[in-house]
Structures are given as C-alpha cells and as structure tokens.
Point group: C2
Chain length 467, copies 2
Amino acid sequence: MPSLSDVMKQHPNPVQMLRNSKIGMYVYPVVAPEYTNWRDEQRAWRDSAVLFDQSHHMDELIVEGPDAEAFLAHVGINGFHNFDTNRAKHFVPVTPAGHVIGDMIIFREREDKFILVGRAPTANWTKFQAAIGRWKVRLLHDPRSPSRPDGERVLRTHYRYQIQGPDAPKIFEKINGGPVPDVKFFHVDWINVGNRRVQALRHGMAGAPGLEIWGPYADKHYIESTILQAARDLGVDLRQVGSRAYSTNTLESGWIPSPLPGIYTGDGMMQEYRDWLGADSYEAAGTIGGSYVSDDISNYYVNPFELGYGFYIGWKKDDFIGKDALTKLKDEPNRKKVTFEWNREDVLKVIASGFEDGVPYKWIDFPQPNYASSSADMVMNGDKMVGMSMFNGYSFNERCMLSLGVVDQSVQEGDVLTMKWGEPDDTEKTSAEKHRQAEIRVRVSATPYAREARENYADSWRTKATA
Amino acid sequence: MPSLSDVMKQHPNPVQMLRNSKIGMYVYPVVAPEYTNWRDEQRAWRDSAVLFDQSHHMDELIVEGPDAEAFLAHVGINGFHNFDTNRAKHFVPVTPAGHVIGDMIIFREREDKFILVGRAPTANWTKFQAAIGRWKVRLLHDPRSPSRPDGERVLRTHYRYQIQGPDAPKIFEKINGGPVPDVKFFHVDWINVGNRRVQALRHGMAGAPGLEIWGPYADKHYIESTILQAARDLGVDLRQVGSRAYSTNTLESGWIPSPLPGIYTGDGMMQEYRDWLGADSYEAAGTIGGSYVSDDISNYYVNPFELGYGFYIGWKKDDFIGKDALTKLKDEPNRKKVTFEWNREDVLKVIASGFEDGVPYKWIDFPQPNYASSSADMVMNGDKMVGMSMFNGYSFNERCMLSLGVVDQSVQEGDVLTMKWGEPDDTEKTSAEKHRQAEIRVRVSATPYAREARENYADSWRTKATA
C-alpha cells in the first residue's frame, strides 16, 4: 500500500493533489436525504425538536490501557486536570508547528478508557502517535460508514443519536420514565431509554437543550423507535433530520467541521507521519474546494486560537505536542472565527445563471453547497485577502446563506467584504461542474450567528458595500 | 389488515385522504444521491454516457404459466399479436371506465413467462385480476426497495442497469467483446457483460442510443464494475447517475411516471378492488401534491389517449378490461400531453422568497421539486383551468425548469399559460413546508421537449404573457 508521501510525489504540490481529487462529495452517509423535508427539519431544531442520527458520519477511536490518559494528554492540547468520567471534551491535537490537525469529541468511559468521535484526521494522528511511542494503550478504530453503500448492510460499533430543540426536555423525561438528572453542559450521565440504560452527553446548539446518547449498534432500532414513540405519545413535533439538513446545523452553532489537517508540511515527525499514512486515507484522498488557490498548502492551515479553541489549552501540562509553537503563537495577531452572511442579491444572481446559456457560476446547492472535504473561499477587502470562508450552508431559520471562516484582526463585525465564489480554473474534482467565478458580498457577523447583529447592521449593505 | 376501502371510510373523500398522507417524499431509493454532481450527471446523458442503477425504484411482477399471455392481454390495453420473446412493450392497464391505472415495461422472457417492471399500481391491479379470475398463472411480486433503508441490506430479485448517451455504443461493444447485435427500439437480445450472458433491451432517451440490462441480483457488483472498467479503459466519461438527477431524465424524454391510478371510484369490480387492496398499498398510503384541489378524485385521472398511448391499443383483441370505455373515449376531445417550460423570472421570484421573512412560496427543490407520489398543479388560461402539470424537474441541459402534463385541445404549442405553484391550504403532508401560492408562467412545448420550439417562440414571453 503506497503512503501519503508516495501520492504526494506524483503531484507538483499537495494543493494541486487535493484540488484535483476525484473522490467526490464529502457526504453525511447512510442516513436518508430527507425524512420529511429539509426546510422543516431545520425549522424543528429551533421550534420543536429534532433527532439526529449520528451513527454513521464519524470515525470512532477507542483508546484504553494504563497509559490512556497520559497518552491522550500528550497528543491533544486540552487540559486534562478536570477530566473525570462524567465529562466530555472537545479534543484538539496540533502539529509540532501548532497547526490544527482536526478535532473529536472525547468521552471518558472509564478511568482507563476513552472514546473519541469525529472526522478521520484526529483518529489517524492519534493512531500514529501510539505507533511511534511507547505508551501502554490499546486502540480500536471504527472508521465512518461508506459514502455510497448502494444497498449493502452497514454496521458500526455504536449507535449515536442526538435530540435537540426546545421540546427535547419533554422527550428526555418521557424516555427516562421520570425527570432526567440535571447534567451540566458537556457532562455525561446515565439515563433510561425505555428498558435500556444509556450514557447521555449534555449537548446544545445555539442555547437549546440537547442530549447525545450512544450504545451498542444492535440496540439502534430499539432506541430510535422508543424515542419516536415517546414524541408521538407527547404530541411533540420531533423531526428526524436527514443527510441534507444535518450538516447545516453547524452554521447556526458556529463549529467549523472541516479545517484542513496541517500535516502536509514539516520535517521529522511530520515526514514520518506522511510515510505512515495510507494512500487511501482522508488526508491523501480528500479534497480542497473553493476559490482560494495557493501553492503553499500551509496557507490553508489554521491554529487553535483562530478557531476559538485557545481556552482549551492545558498550559500547566509539562508537555504536549505543539506546546512550544502554541506558546509563541499565543501572542501573535491570529485571525478570528466569524460567520459570513451572504448577500441575498448576489446569491440570487448566482442562482439565476443556472437559467442562462453558457458557463454558469458555481451552482449553490441547497441547503449545502460545499463540494469538498475542506473548503477555502477567498474573502477580500478590495484587492486584499482578509479572510477565508471554510464551511457554508443555507439556513431556512435565518432565511439566508451563511458560512463560517476566519478573518484578520482588522476585520470588524458588520464589515461588508467580498467572497470569491467558485474556482478560478478547471480541476479534476468530480463534485463540481464547469463554472465561472462570481463575487458575493458577505457581511461579517458573530459566531455563533446572531440574528440581532444582522438586523442592527441592516443599513450596512447600502453604506459599506465593497463590490 | 384493513383495506383501502377501510382507510377511505375515515376520510370525507379520497382527495383529502391522499393530500394529507404523511408518507413523505416518493424517492428513488437506495442509490446514492450523487456519484459526482447532479449537474454533470444530467449533462452526461446528452454529452457522453450515463449508467442508471434501476435495481431499486420499481416493483417487479413475474407472470408465468400456460395462461400468461391470455391473462395479460386481458388486463392490458396493448396489442399482443406481435409480442414475441425478443420484444418488450409499454404495458398499460385501464379501469372498466377507461382510466389509466399505471404502466410497466413488460418483457417476454419465455413463451409462458413475462416480467413487468414499474410502479406498484399496475402490479397490484394485475395481482387482483389473477386473484378474481380463473387464469392458470403464477405470480411473483418483488416490491420496490424501502425508501429509507438506514443501513440495512437491501436485496432484489434482479439487478437492472441502463446505459445511455452518445458514447454508450462504445461501451456496449467493449463489454460485449465485439459488435453488439443491431437491436431495434424496444426489442431484446442477448449480449455479454464480461463473462456473463445477459438480456438487453434497446432503449433510448431523446434519440440517444441505450440498452437496459438485467439479471440475478447476486451478479450486480460484477456487472457494474465490468461496465465502469470498460468506460475507464475506453476513456469514456461515463457518469453514474445518483438519485437526485435520475428522475429528471424523464423531463427530457417525455414520459409521465406518476398518473394517479383511477381506482378510487366506480362500483362492481372497482369496489371489490378497493376492498382487496391493503391499507399499506401505494394507492392507500400515497400522496397527491400540487395546487389542484378537487372534491372529485376522478378529475385527477387520465386516459391513455391523453398520455399519448392510444396507438398501443389492441382493438383487434376480442376483449380486454376497458375496451368499451376506450371505444367511446377514442373520439372525444381528449386532452393532450405537453411539456411546460417554466418562466425564468417567475421561478427566480419563488426562489427569492426563501431569502425573505414570513411564509415563503413553495420551495423549488433542485433538480426535483415534486413532493408527492402524484402531482397536479393547475394550469390556467386567465380564470379557466386548461391543463394539469403532473411531473416537474430542472434540466441543466436545457437550463430551465420543465414539467409534463396534459392540456385541453384548445391549447397550442407556444401558448403562455399560468401555473399555480404551491397548495392553497395547509395539509398534513410531511414533504411540504408551510408555504403560500405563486403564479408561474409556463410556455407550452412539445413532448419530448425540443429546444428549437423554445427558441422559435422566444418572443412569446413578451407578447403572450397572461400573468
């Protein structure tokens, strides 16, 4: 099996490699596109309640053994001092240069057993660190489900569901057969789902209460039907969320799922990692999409401060991978995470080109226009690139296109910038049709997106437009 | 198990029953939403070649036995005099009143064995006729795959693939290992796919050559990979077509897949049928969507003349179900099948409402806005309803929204009419969000849709607009 390094040798640079990947869309697999319709499925997480089936789209990595805690504290930037078994964390590893590799939710199931859930890059990096170190840990990796199972059966280690929305608490109480423990945010407790005892993580989106529950995959149907029956009994409008609506929930909550792992550069351990990673890995087969084209792949990287993860860092730990680099980066003028609100008229102009002859603008597919595993669209202030749009989607709740990304410190909320939409050249990417570039004005808003901001700045479209 | 009759008793009329069904979208199941992207998947059937995986979305009914031919000739309107084993037909049954029940493709595999492939209503009706008659036939019914398998394995009796497009013949020759027999349209012959010998139906869309092949489901992966490898070896841009693009191919070819089965009215045999049909049948659980709301469900029915199937009728047969009614209908002023080309500005107006507060127009979901198993949108000339739009979709090839339907004889190609888009009231349908009605101008075009017509009538938008 060739390695990522071998694949990289076949391309002038890794940007070109990833921009021309033929792997297709990065999808939310197995789950039906829609259970009812994606507009109401979005609406329900704000107005009533939703059931997310998260059993298929994430890798799971189980890390156990006497050194499990010490090992993970070495791999991730997070503080571990307060990490007991009733708590989860947002686990973030970085490279020795301080670049984000990815992120996973980490659960501590026992003193010596952790479960990590998220995209592949963090699982791969953690496996590599176990392979090259001398830690007494056992790892079990259950990669995400196939993107196109085409009728074949799909099995996972665990089912995983999330219930969210203002009416979610009624359902928790019903399935639990009584009041649920008052769990703090990102803490874990046990609840009943019918006759099963399951672990539940207190989660939440944009302030609405939520629980994430998981257990053996064989229980999946029982758990799902018990939840749906509870909602019917209560008369709660609980919507199962399909694959089309699912990924857009992050636009309203403000998490960027898709930073490009900062692993394509660097010597020493990083070179070793690229030799170790397979040619079929996320890192080797994935895609970069978007208008930003740089010969230097490190221009696509982000650091934890830019994503708002600075406060996770366990500075008191003796050491962890990237500590020195982060210590230096800490006081630099890092970019900051924002929400971009896309200008309605410009979006409609792009859509209208799908009704004209000739080469159209890049199609904006609703509700999820991303066409790569990592997206990078240039955000300009005049001729100067001042930011990068990294994950987009349409919100029926907000009635607008939003994206998440990073901007220079000079950029302020309310500023109106210009995003270049679509790629400047033809690539081999199979997920994008031939298209030309458009300019879409974007207004900079807070993350998580707050509608008030939009309304307060309502005049700025006219006064600050840069197009 | 309650019957359709039992379900109907719970509703004031069958229109209200079907307009409020909660079954959700009628989907093209199991097949991935996109393999590359739906724009290029549409483009490929015109420019290069496509592979349709038709293994999952249709019912299959096998009819065999000494009376098979006589039985089917009694059930369908079609002439059977020229129906030998190297031929397929478009099988259409009607009620005794002459209303279309549905349609299936029928293959004659042996002298005494036929395979029917299509939507459920024709399979159900055929089974009923076998049940109430005294025909020496054996039936085997393999219903379509589940709409939302959610990771469970799906098995069928047969795989079924179609290869279409201008580059398709190169692939036929490659997989066959030499020139393929020169099969006439809707005739069947045997070809090789690698080391398998398979039956192939000469099919075609909008003039482009195509073959439909089928065989035991266990061979599915072998057949698919052999076809894909052949295309790679040839350098042909063969696109696998996903579920999002698939159903839109009929807009360009002109077949209406979804007439409402005319089975909700009528006494005698029809009442018996409704007592026989289960409450979980397509007919009982399906949906009517669209702006047309009539208390009389027969207003949604069509007859074979209206769908352009008049020339199928085997008038020389001694008898078949509906013969008397069709004899009378033949010379009446039947409606005619047309393509409606939707006005670009009006479509964009509807889309724009998704970026405004308040209740939006009914969302036009791309490329397939249908939200029911049968659609009926009113097409108006001023205050007078002159037609019904029955199946819609966006064509990236034509860069416009098209729909198929029927219009009064008074309507001429080039006429600009007004379609009411969206429903006048709230229903329980889960596939539609709350919305208000819009008016969309539509230009009447030929079926199959011919772009020349559109261009010849280019001025008529301005001169004949009725809005």
